[in-house]
């Protein structure tokens, strides 16, 4: 696959909570979050499933699970919604995702996310029903209690957000988090989540919706709650506006000049394949925090066919990245992974970037293996010549 171009730093009219969070880490990542072409870098499977979960819950908020049906039928309907959304997203996903997983159901955690989505949708539908006025009663706009996925813009127009749910009666904003592994400690609100929630509260208050509490609703049913005062929410809003102004002041500057790579910032960052400054500053001391990412010249390609699968092992003279310079073997990558975007398989002399991989064993010989969810291999000859 060919390294995609980095996004341009163009002015942002409005800042969303996700772009704000990215901006706190790195202006380059914020540019990607705000207007990067998502189709050129493979999505993490959990991100796709998280989108499905949000869609199903949103549908439930909008009344797609009729109250007259029994619980099992409603759960079944929610599962169908999940399957349909997953199928659509899968068809639109980066070709590498489709090369790795032959159907949406084969995405890791598919069934667990699907069930969590169904249960969350059922709970959301019940919440909506409880908030609904009695049959025949009129409901003036000022008495609307639930706002699902409503786009909120601050009065000055600089901040924008779409909270999953605002319950005006309970004065709370709810944000659904898909969570990750089962054993993660997710009973508390993380600092990043708190920032996002304060921004939502700020947007709600700016739109005349009384909110003083924020809830993180985990997909496994756990809830974490924080109180947010108007002062805290406004302070977050001011900070976001300040960062937006700083970002816009950098408009027109090259991506590589504004990106701020560091071991923490670049952890799980989707920009690594095309972030030249990352490759310039990354060092072996980053490996533990940031993972395994290497760039180097291919000195040999060994092809084999095992059980009908074409595999390639690359011998790479590593020059940059989070492992020490020297010879490395990138073992047994399915050839289809390297040609998913239509490009040719890697060949001798080409500069490659292998990102989000795994190290096997010690330093000599240095052996790198692919991770089936995260690893991608990019041809970067042109980038290396710049």
């Amino acid at each position: 696959m060919r390294v995609p171009p980095a996004p341009d730093i163009t002015p942002l009219k409005q800042l969303s909570p996700s772009a704000y969070e990215a901006l706190l880490r790195c202006k380059g990542r914020a540019a990607w979050a705000a207007h990067g072409d998502r189709s050129v870098v493979p999505q993490h499977p959990k991100a796709l499933l998280g989108t499905c979960l949000h869609s199903v819950v949103e549908e439930a908020h909008n009344g797609t699970l009729p109250s007259g049906l029994d619980e099992q039928t409603r759960l079944s309907l929610a599962r169908q919604l999940f399957d349909r959304r997953a199928q659509t997203l899968y068809e639109q996903a980066h070709p590498l995702v489709r090369a790795k997983f032959s159907s949406p159901e084969r995405l890791p955690y598919y069934n667990l996310y699907r069930e969590r989505a169904a249960l969350e949708a059922l709970a959301s539908a019940q919440r909506v029903e409880q908030a609904a006025p009695a049959a025949g009663a009129s409901q003036p706009a000022r008495f609307v209690r639930l706002y699902a996925e409503r786009r909120l813009v601050s009065r000055d127009g600089l901040l924008v957000g779409r909270p999953d749910l605002i319950d005006a009666a309970a004065q709370e904003v709810v944000d659904y988090k898909t969570g990750t592994a089962l054993d993660e400690a997710v009973d508390a609100v993380s600092p990043a989540e708190a920032r996002q929630l304060r921004l939502y509260v700020h947007l709600a208050l700016d739109n005349g919706i009384p909110v003083s509490r924020a809830v993180v609703a985990r997909a496994d049913g756990r809830r974490a709650v924080i109180d947010v005062s108007k002062e805290e929410a406004d302070a977050e809003g001011r900070k976001a506006r300040g960062l937006l102004a700083q970002y816009n002041a950098a408009a027109g500057v090259a991506f590589n000049k504004v990106a701020q790579p560091s071991p923490d910032t670049c952890r799980f960052c989707p920009c690594i394949p095309f972030c030249e400054i990352f490759w310039q500053v990354a060092s072996p001391s980053w490996e533990e925090q940031c993972g395994v990412h290497v760039e180097g010249h291919i000195t040999a390609v060994e092809a084999s066919t095992l059980q009908g699968m074409k595999l390639i092992t690359l011998r790479v003279g590593v020059q940059r990245g989070t492992l020490s310079a020297g010879e490395a073997f990138v073992e047994q990558i399915p050839e289809a992974w390297t040609t998913a975007d239509g490009s040719s398989p890697p060949r001798e002399g080409v500069v490659v970037r292998i990102v989000h991989a795994r190290r096997a064993g010690g330093d000599v010989p240095l052996v790198i293996r692919a991770d089936r969810t995260a690893t991608s291999v990019w041809s970067a000859t042109a980038e290396a010549q710049r």
Partner: protein
């Protein structure tokens, strides 16, 4: 001999005996020589595997349930082949070979059974069995589904497995089904229900694999209650699966089919539903296979 090899050999001895063994003197001037031992013979061989493991199943032979499934399947294939070819079972040798799915690095390996002729240079049995059409017929024969002239023999082979008396008396394997002198080393692993499931899976990747159908349902009905009771768990149902609740540890012990994957990344919809329901109730879900429940009824923790 290297120090490493000596240390390894010591592990085979009891503690008190180890202390009495004097370590050997090594010749530091001679470099160690690495050798492999093998018995090589030339014969016919056939292999059979499951091309694509369905979502939610685990056929990794490193896992006891899956290893049991492969060996049980293999010995059932061998028995059926011996009946069809009218030869003795020991004229065919059986093994299980782990295989990696290279299309998906880091996904768990699967396996395939191989059957070879015992006779030096082969007798042609495995070659014949290895013909896809013949092997498919053999699978149908094992499941009592063969039609045509051999239909009665097929039923006569299959029916004793699912006969109500055998079904009730044999929770794992016995000498009426899979056990015989030649597979003594595998007796604790063998399971006739798993063997039949593997045959069904080999014929149809969409074959139903759960505890509510076929020969599993009555075993489940007999096992779940006493199993939960023996562990002082309160029996209930989560996502439609029999579950035992441990009030003191907040665990929900869910009984599952032996081939179901316990890994949350690859759960079947039924198990995912039970897990998600447990999470919603603030419980810690623990999946435990019926395979283990009948063999180790006084525990439910799996490493």
């Amino acid at each position: 001999m290297t120090e490493n090899a000596f240390d390894q050999a010591l592990l085979d001895l009891p503690d008190q005996d180890r202390r009495t063994i004097r370590p050997p003197q090594y010749d530091g001037a001679t470099p160690p020589v690495q050798q492999a031992l093998a018995a090589i013979s030339s014969t016919d061989v056939m292999t059979a595997g499951i091309n694509t493991t369905p979502v939610g199943l685990r056929l990794n032979p490193a896992v006891p349930e899956a290893r049991a499934a492969w060996y049980s399947f293999g010995f059932l294939v061998r028995r059926a082949a011996a009946v069809r070819l009218d030869v003795a079972e020991d004229e065919l040798e059986l093994g299980v070979q782990p295989v990696v799915d290279f299309s998906s690095p880091f996904s768990p390996p699967s396996a395939r059974v191989f059957i070879s002729d015992s006779l030096e240079n082969g007798a042609g049995y495995s070659t014949r069995l290895g013909e896809p059409a013949d092997f498919e017929e053999l699978l149908l024969f094992m499941l009592g589904q063969l039609t045509g002239p051999d239909a009665a023999r097929s039923r006569a082979f299959f029916d004793p497995f699912v006969d109500s008396v055998h079904e009730r008396e044999c929770a794992t394997s016995c000498h009426r089904c899979l056990r015989e002198y030649g597979n003594m080393a595998y007796h604790p692993l063998l399971d006739w229900r798993l063997a039949l499931d593997m045959a069904r899976l080999a014929l149809d990747p969409a074959a139903r694999m759960d505890l509510t159908s076929g020969c599993w349902a009555p075993l489940m009905a007999r096992t779940a209650g006493p199993f939960f009771q023996g562990l002082n768990l309160v029996q209930t149902s989560l996502g439609g699966l029999a579950t035992g609740m441990n009030a003191s540890t907040n665990e929900a012990v869910i009984l599952i089919h032996p081939l179901w994957d316990r890994d949350p990344a690859n759960m079947r919809p039924e198990l995912a539903a039970a897990f998600a329901a447990a999470e919603r109730k603030g419980l810690q879900p623990v999946a435990y296979s019926i395979f283990r429940a009948v063999r180790f009824p006084y525990e439910y923790k799996v490493e």
